[in-house]
């Protein structure tokens, strides 16, 4: 896999390059601003990009805007956004085009290397990787009569993991249950939330995220 990184903090940039390199992922460019970033994407045609949110010159949300812009120019370009904090409206903006291939994670998730590489791979394959904190923010602050309230505790766990972008096998592993049981939970969740259950894979995740974001 070939990846472009944009991160203005030199320690983090070099750390990321090293960490991804160790995991067998080729970092074709590691830059510290969005201009070079957009140029690198056009020039290198990477399989995925990893970007920070706050970047020079204004240190607000340049990285996010650059990611959205990059996906406008190169539709479906897998983008993994890393940030010191998560803000669900940013997740909604990234997901807005409904194409998938989007990741939005807290920076410290990088530390759990295996899981981070797994998330990046998922994103590069057109899947999603939402930070658990995004999902938990989406799950609270709901109305008292929200259909989500009818979910059992286990179903909520499955829903959260599904919304983060995990496949059934990973969900089953994480919760230490069989894949069949996960399938059953998912069927129940879709019925309770009145979501059509005819879509598989990433489209299913996008449907769930759209539901939670609404």
């Amino acid at each position: 896999m070939r990846v472009v990184i944009v991160e203005d903090d030199v320690l983090l940039r070099e750390g990321l390059t090293l960490l991804l390199g160790n995991a067998g992922i080729e970092v074709v460019a590691a830059v510290d601003n969005t201009t070079e970033f957009l140029a690198a994407i056009a020039g290198m045609r990477p399989d995925a990009v990893v970007t920070d949110v706050r970047l020079p010159p204004t240190f607000t949300d340049e990285g996010l805007r650059a990611a959205v812009e990059a996906r406008r120019v190169h539709p479906g370009l897998p983008v993994l956004v890393l940030s010191a904090y998560v803000e669900n409206s940013y997740a909604a903006e990234l997901l807005a085009d409904g194409v998938g291939g989007v990741g939005y994670l807290l920076k410290e998730r990088v530390g759990k290397v295996e899981r981070f590489v797994d998330a990046l791979t998922r994103v590069a394959e057109g899947g999603t990787a939402m930070d658990p904190e995004v999902i938990s923010q989406l799950l609270v602050r709901r109305k008292p009569d929200d259909p989500l309230a009818t979910l059992t505790a286990r179903e909520r766990e499955v829903l959260a993991l599904m919304a983060e972008g995990h496949n059934n096998a990973t969900i089953a592993d994480t919760l230490v249950v069989s894949e069949g049981a996960v399938l059953k939970h998912i069927r129940n969740i879709f019925t309770k939330l009145s979501l059509p259950n005819d879509e598989g894979g990433h489209r299913r995740v996008l449907a769930v995220l759209a539901y939670l974001n609404a």
Binding site: V53, R54, T60, D61, A84, Y85, E87, N88, S89, A92, L106, E108, G111, K112, Q137, R141, R142, K143, P144, D146
Partner: protein, 407 residues
């Protein structure tokens, strides 16, 4: 017709003025009654209440005259509080009370007169202009309003002259209306110096409140950092130190400790994020107040419409306060209102920020009970702002907050 438009406006103004004049006379009667009863002291408890009613009437006039003149008329009353006798003293020694009473005394008769003129002048003018046409039909002639009787062609032109005079007088109604409004403006504005004195007292109180709130906030941040992130990072350093000690003897256990240290560091980051968010939400710095509030509205489970006038950047503390006020209001709506719909409105002038949060829920929100509302009040107070909640049973609930923000 356009030249007559101000006359119509003035006539309407004076007519309503007659209404308030009637109420003024009524109020005066009431006051005399209460004053009489107060002499034998049983009327005393009614004094603050009576004057509160007067203030309400006077407020109507303030609004009316202010709208007519195009400049709002400020009010500055001492607010009666505490035991009845203290309240009585407060309202009676308030110079604004004296000015209100003078206004009632003058406006009562004069307002009634002007209101009558506004209606009678045009009718009478038309009548007098037509007297030459019909006087000969009336046996014994027609009585004019100046007393003489038109019963011959030689007196008829006099009637026309009176009609013209009334008509001209009628065209002067805007002037009368302006007099009435200016008199209200003069008497009902705070006396010179009073508003400043009150303002200084208010500001001193709110400044003390702001300092207190600021101090409490600093202590909270210190405690959060000390008990949270700081303690955890200390633990990380210690865990890594122990791992270093153990690495030769028991590499496996040392690795375990390194992993544990990583988890602890992750927890520390989570706590730091919470503290940062409670001080100044990062989204504010990224997107400004309008962007941050849009994000709040979008995230609100109750469908929420947003009206945001261009606000630009304001002092960070004000932006944070406004953000938390909207956030708390929306949380209250989500939790308690059972509303189908909410709306948030943000407007700003050069030196003020206005927040209106409204919902169509069940109402009955009580400022004395709800902690969220107390929090909003406290945040507004800290900046010499003002929060007002209206929530009748059955809704709608409307929260209005005003934050001064000299920019």
């Amino acid at each position: 017709m356009t030249r007559l438009a101000p006359v119509w406006t003035a006539a309407r103004y004076l007519l309503v003025g007659a209404g308030t004049a009637l109420l003024s006379l009524l109020a005066l009667t009431g006051i005399f009654l209460v004053a009489g009863l107060s002499l034998i002291s049983i009327g005393l408890p009614a004094v603050p209440e009576a004057l509160r009613l007067v203030r309400r009437l006077v407020d109507v006039e303030r609004g009316r005259a202010g709208a007519f003149l195009g400049t709002p008329i400020p009010a500055a009353y001492r607010l009666p509080d505490g035991p009845v006798l203290t309240q009585v003293r407060t309202v009676l020694t308030d110079p604004a009370t004296r000015r209100d009473l003078v206004w009632l005394l003058v406006h009562g008769p004069v307002g009634l007169l002007l209101g009558t003129l506004a209606v009678a002048l045009p009718i009478s003018a038309v009548n007098h202009l037509f007297i030459p046409v019909y006087w000969w039909l009336v046996p014994g002639g027609v009585q004019t309003s100046l007393g003489f009787v038109v019963d011959s062609w030689s007196t008829a032109p006099l009637a026309v002259a009176i009609g013209v005079f009334y008509g001209l007088l009628w065209l002067q109604l805007p002037r009368f209306a302006r007099w009435q409004a200016r008199f209200a403006q003069r008497m009902l504005s705070p006396a010179e110096g009073v508003s400043l004195v009150d303002r200084v007292a208010e500001l001193t109180a709110s400044r003390a409140g702001a300092l207190e709130a600021h101090g409490a906030e600093l202590r909270r941040i210190e405690r959060d950092l000390h008990d949270g992130a700081q303690a955890r990072i200390a633990a990380v350093v210690m865990q890594l130190g122990i791992a270093d000690q153990m690495r030769a003897r028991d590499p496996e256990a040392a690795f375990d400790l390194v992993r544990k240290a990583q988890d602890t560091a992750i927890d520390a980051l989570a706590e730091l994020r919470d503290v940062v968010r409670s001080i100044y939400p990062p989204v504010l710095s990224d997107r400004g107040l309008d962007g941050a509030v849009s994000a709040l509205a979008a995230r609100c489970p109750v469908p929420c419409t947003l009206e945001v006038a261009p606000i630009g950047r304001r002092p960070a503390a004000i932006e944070a306060a406004a953000y938390f006020i909207v956030a708390e209001a929306l949380t209250n709506i989500t939790k308690h209102s059972a509303a189908e719909h909410a709306s948030v409105r943000l407007e700003a002038t050069d030196d003020k920020l206005f927040i209106t949060v409204r919902d169509d829920g069940r109402g009955g929100a009580d400022g004395n009970l709800g902690t969220g509302i107390v929090g909003i009040q406290r945040r507004a107070d800290a900046f010499d702002g003002h929060a007002e909640l209206s929530s009748p049973l059955g809704g709608p609930t409307v929260l209005r907050v005003e934050l001064p923000c000299g920019s």
